[in-house]
Amino acid sequence: MSQLSLKVEFGGGIELLFSKKHTITVELPALVPTDDSTDDQSLMEDTAKEKKPANLAYLVLYLRDRLLTERAELFVENGTVRPGILVLVNDTDWQLEGEGDYELKDKDNIVFISTLHGG
């Protein structure tokens, strides 16, 4: 099964939730379970679970479950990113790319920017 290598960047203070890392590389299988489970067993190639192409909505849940170090409620709300967090896909607003339905491609650059610190 092919793997996707994604560059994920954080800005605007959201990096505080990810061990203060501004940039990370995420390796994801191109096909992920349709039930959005993110554990190692579910991501194994020989798992019996039904598969779908990995999309942005899955990446958000993957980041929450595997890389977020504190206060998940500040990153995810109702299965998507919390209002006030902007997402850019290859320097383009994710709204133009179908938001969570955007199918991830290898070498994609995904940026999460928090706007919750105003002023």
Binding site: L86, L116, G118
Partner: protein
Amino acid sequence: MTSCGNPNVEKDALMERRPKYDGKTKICVKCKENQGNVVIRHAVYCKSCFFPLVQTRFKRTLEPSINPAPDGPRRKALRAAGSLAVGFSGGTCSMTLLDLVAKTYLTTRPTGNESMKGGTDHPRNSERGVWKGKPTVCYVEVCGAFSGQIDQTEVIRAIVERYPNCPFEFIPLRLEDSFNPSWWSSVGGGNAVDSARSFGLDISDEELRLTHISQSTPPDSSALTALKAYLSSVPTLTAVNSTIQTLIRLLLFHTAAAHNASHLLLGTSLTSLSVNLISGIAQGSGFAVAEEAKEEWTPRPARGLPVRVVRPLRDVGVKECAIWNWWAGLHPVDRPWYPSGAGKNAVDSLTRDFIFGLETDYPATVSTIARTCGKLASKEDSDERCILCERPAQRRVQDWKAQISIRSYSDATPAVSGITKPTHLSDDEISNLTQAKQESKPEPSLAPYLCYACHTTLTSRSIRGMTAPLSAQRAKETPLPMWVRSTLDGVVAKDSVDSEMIQSKKLTSQDIKSQIEQYLIDE
């Protein structure tokens, strides 16, 4: 999903989330050539058109207010009466504001002969800026108010000083400067140490009576101790956040006035303006709702120029600011999201969560809030100003407040008279309840000098009790910010000398008869 009512009764009460962008075209609406990069209120813009778009909105808001006469021929010349001060927090929007100011008004023009011809490019225009002197950037460090927070002053200084040729003068302030006589003296407020009166506040009393702090006040009562005492005495977490905002605002105002600034720019975006408007109205500042968007402040004591407070990003959403920062390579200062911890349940935090949710699902409603509030005006003008927040204050607020609510019978003289008297009390009982107050010697009180919102902030108790229990002595000697003490020195002294005391008193029929007894003719 946003709820605007009772979904059991109203079919449309639950506003289902829907995509903001309909996917019809990805071409930029402005140049109509490039692929779009960002969606702003249903319109698609490319990266090249995005920067001029934000800059145009910024200039369109700011420039009409630069010249002293707002309707003057501004295209001909932009000349401010004084210098420029920028309030900077290091957050998303103020980062954008500083960048816009630097790139729009403070970039050095090329000196080649080709670019210096005439008109606005004439050399004499490049030598004279819009504002007089070097612009100042004021930053208020709030770490003193919260335990465990890191002082970010040097990080902010590095951000401000990285612009080419260092066009800004950086002025670091601290929240505790509000209680610091040295700072007050440095901004031209006067010598508070030699001040004749030194007032404290009895916060346990709804009348907010003023107490003279004795000379035996411990000498270690530093500004930071005073700040902590003040914040711990306000009754709710909502009030703590509101108080901090007021202190920051006045610190910026006084510092701007001290530097002879005619303009103070704040990085309030359209989104944060909507949050401030709704949150402010919820906390009782509806009378001064117009000041939330634009205000002109005259320093007390009089010095310098009137400071025009402008929010040039009030047509720019926080999303545009965040995108501007990212594409311009600017990184806002990292801060914990809710510095006051449990303060996430405060009115301003809850309002912010609501407005951000609304902006995600229905972006046009956020600008509607700001535009609608911009049309609001109070029924009557007022030349009075709140002594604490320096915003317009409604006359006779305390009387009105007493008429709409009874918080304690002993303090409710106006409320228990006339048609508003409680039906379960007789005239004699009401008279007895109010007697003690009328006979006691009136003490100076802060309440008559406050606006409704500030009085509510200081006195509205939470049903869950105080934020922290106060000792009786501390509650009676709550320190006051320097500008309040300074103004009080004048007004209380004046009131005690030449004011006329007027009190209303409900009399029983026996009292009335005894007063006119000598004029009655025997039957």
